[in-house]
Symmetry: C2
Subunit: 184 residues, 2 copies
């Protein structure tokens, strides 16, 4: 029974049941309305968001949850899931535009172009570090590209919040530095 004027009844917020994404989410979320890394992996695989690319590794799914885990619960609610979905769609589009031969991988030079196209302004040295970290035999698969994008976005957000004068320089206490860098 619905309660007109009071939004959705128990078990959801207004609009949730209508959102097609909610189907993927609720199929794995269970009663607590939260998903953990292995549930996220199942959910993303079932949704087909990777398209023809390999499904996401558990490691990448853990990174995704940690990036958005505002309440430090190690799980993800539906609103965080929607944010992630939107980011993933963007990254898939970026990746596909550089994976011209549809091999499921891009090379180091294309990774640099992809990072530039996402608005990051990095030196050749920083690009080189990233390329070496994420490529294997010179190629970067979609899953690794997403890992890279997740970490770059989260680290940049953390940095920006500490760059109080917006001059590209930030100060960290050691403990804070470890929290920021070891959590993703």
């Amino acid at each position: 029974m619905a309660f007109p004027g009071y939004g959705a009844g128990p078990g959801g917020f207004p609009g949730m049941q209508q959102d097609p994404l909610y189907g993927y989410f609720s199929a794995v979320a269970g009663q607590d309305g939260q998903i953990s890394a292995d549930e996220l992996q199942r959910c993303l695989t079932q949704s087909g968001i990777s398209g023809s690319y390999q499904p996401f590794s558990l490691e990448t799914c853990r990174l995704m949850i940690n990036m958005l885990d505002r309440d430090l619960s190690c799980t993800m609610g539906f609103n965080e899931f929607k944010d992630l979905w939107q980011a993933l769609n963007g990254w898939r589009g970026t990746f596909a535009s550089f994976d011209r031969d549809q091999s499921g991988t891009i090379d180091g030079h294309e990774l640099q172009q992809a990072i530039n196209s996402m608005g990051y302004n990095l030196s050749p040295q920083a690009m080189n570090c990233i390329m070496k970290r994420y490529s294997l035999n010179g190629r970067i698969p979609f899953d690794e590209f997403v890992s890279c994008a997740v970490r770059l976005r989260a680290l940049t957000d953390h940095f920006r919040r500490r760059d109080t004068t917006q001059t590209g320089n930030a100060s960290f206490q050691y403990d804070d530095f470890i929290q920021v860098t070891m959590s993703i």
Copy 2:
């Protein structure tokens, strides 16, 4: 043919051939005297350094190489390999002392004790971030523990070099911050 008084002949430095570790290293290193992440994985598996624990993942092997990759070659020479071997032996000893039931995993509380025993002085918040990042269903296998130890050591080294006044506070330019944090 050896050349007395001139150390080792071509293909090695003095003492290399006598070092038992050199056997593991040279079996995979090939002619260039360097090993890549997949060769390191093979080398460490064959050497049995993990003991009864699961062999290291390729991801962990890449982290290990990046931690010690002073010349940014993405490969590891014999001297870097010896440094790594020493560190790995220490971490295995630390892990084993907390894995009392020899299950091959430790719990989050034991991870915190292990990190303390390695001399790190971290807040409960930082410990919590690390625990959440490296545990799956509350347990941390040896391979993940080594990943954690590798990153914690490398990040702490990078921080210390920038903490010029040794007051636990360091300043980063954005590009430098990305190089430090995205390379491992």
